[in-house]
Symmetry: C2
Subunit: 239 residues, 2 copies
């Protein structure tokens, strides 16, 4: 950090790109926008935009999240910085450095097309590509990160509504990981972790229409899982 001459540095555009995930119909979905202009006109891309003069990347990301989803209150949503993509040729016209974020939504509201985006749509993760720019890679990185963080954090509750059943929480893991978990063991594991979930006294809800009503839980105050909840089959990880 030296040589601070205002004219010595290259000017860059700085943007944020968002990988906004939710669970719909038992499948991981991601929010995509259709590009209206060149380049990549008509192609799908991750929502995002430029930093305003007084915004940090985090502030800009939360603003974009509100704009693209149409939600009035995004303050409680999980939003985390992923990493920054800065390859010189990632935008064909100019230097654009993009700070990527991942966001998690509990309930899938219909997206509102932004004023400058042709359309916004929830898309199943598996059918999302190919996207504009390097967004395929950003999206893949985001999914990898989310899957990994389920193992050692309480992140899964960010996919759930304020009150949820343990079955729904388990479905979050099973959907994101693409595996099946043993219900009794999952239940014990979650309840044995202090602060992961807390019971809603006396509350119960029918889930599948049939079956025994399930007890309801709220997200607890803990953020980390000790010991972690490991995936049955380590797949994305060299060992």
């Amino acid at each position: 950090m030296h040589g601070y001459d205002k004219y010595a540095f290259e000017p860059f555009a700085v943007t944020v790109d968002l990988a906004v995930f939710t669970l719909r119909a038992g499948a991981l979905h991601v929010l995509l926008v259709e590009r209206a202009q060149e380049p990549y006109a008509g192609r799908w891309a991750l929502p995002g935009g430029f930093l305003l003069p007084t915004e940090s990347a985090e502030t800009a990301a939360r603003r974009e999240l509100a704009e693209e989803t149409g939600l009035t209150d995004v303050s409680g949503l999980h939003l985390e910085q992923l990493r920054t993509y800065s390859e010189p040729d990632r935008d064909p016209r100019m230097r654009v450095v993009s700070v990527a974020f991942a966001a998690l939504l509990p309930d899938p509201p219909e997206p509102r097309a932004g004023t400058d985006a042709a359309e916004a749509r929830w898309t199943p993760y598996d059918t999302a590509g190919p996207l504009a720019f390097d967004h395929d890679r950003i999206l893949a990185d985001a999914r990898t990160r989310i899957g990994a963080k389920l193992e050692y954090t309480c992140l899964a509750t960010a996919f759930c509504p304020p009150e949820f059943t343990l079955g729904e929480l388990q479905q979050v893991y099973e959907t994101v990981w693409g595996t099946v978990l043993d219900r009794p063991n999952f239940r014990r594991k979650v309840l044995a972790t202090p602060g992961f979930v807390e019971a809603v006294p006396g509350a119960a809800r029918l889930t599948g229409g049939r079956g025994k009503p399930a007890a309801l839980y709220r997200a607890g105050t803990a953020t980390a899982l000790h010991p972690p909840l490991l995936r049955p089959t380590p797949e994305g990880r060299p060992a």
Copy 2:
């Protein structure tokens, strides 16, 4: 990512900041440079600099790493992106968005002062602050990340020379974590993880001057640890 008018975006300076760690005399050290110019003239700061027009942040970080350490070959060194710091007021003069990296060095070479830095010096982590800009926070974030990654990756070998003993590898963990580990259990754990280390046949080395010569090992090909090597006392983590 829309509204691509070259004059519509705010111009930003983009820099990289490096938290370069090594182990010296049983203590974690970090490479710092003394600022020659205002602001923060005379204060210590993390090494770093601007991205060149055709550089990615990763390329710029590796270039800066070579420049600041004076090493001719930094290709094998561990270098990873941490996160990006973009608070509007983090530099008093202008918008500077900085992509932070953490780097790990096995052997502590004497740093070479860069052409534009007054001085570069290895400093014990515990006596490193207060630094210029938001570098205290970047440094703390870097240390937290490195400590956490020792648990579930093979990162510790990045602190070691090409051939090392298990005692030296254990000291990496003990120094970074600030804990004491049980030697027999550590040994078993490391050797039971395929690809963590591989034995150098027939080689042995005296370590402390006294004592039995220790077998030598090289870093293996694995990058992740399964199951992880957890800290004895979870301190930095809410549970």
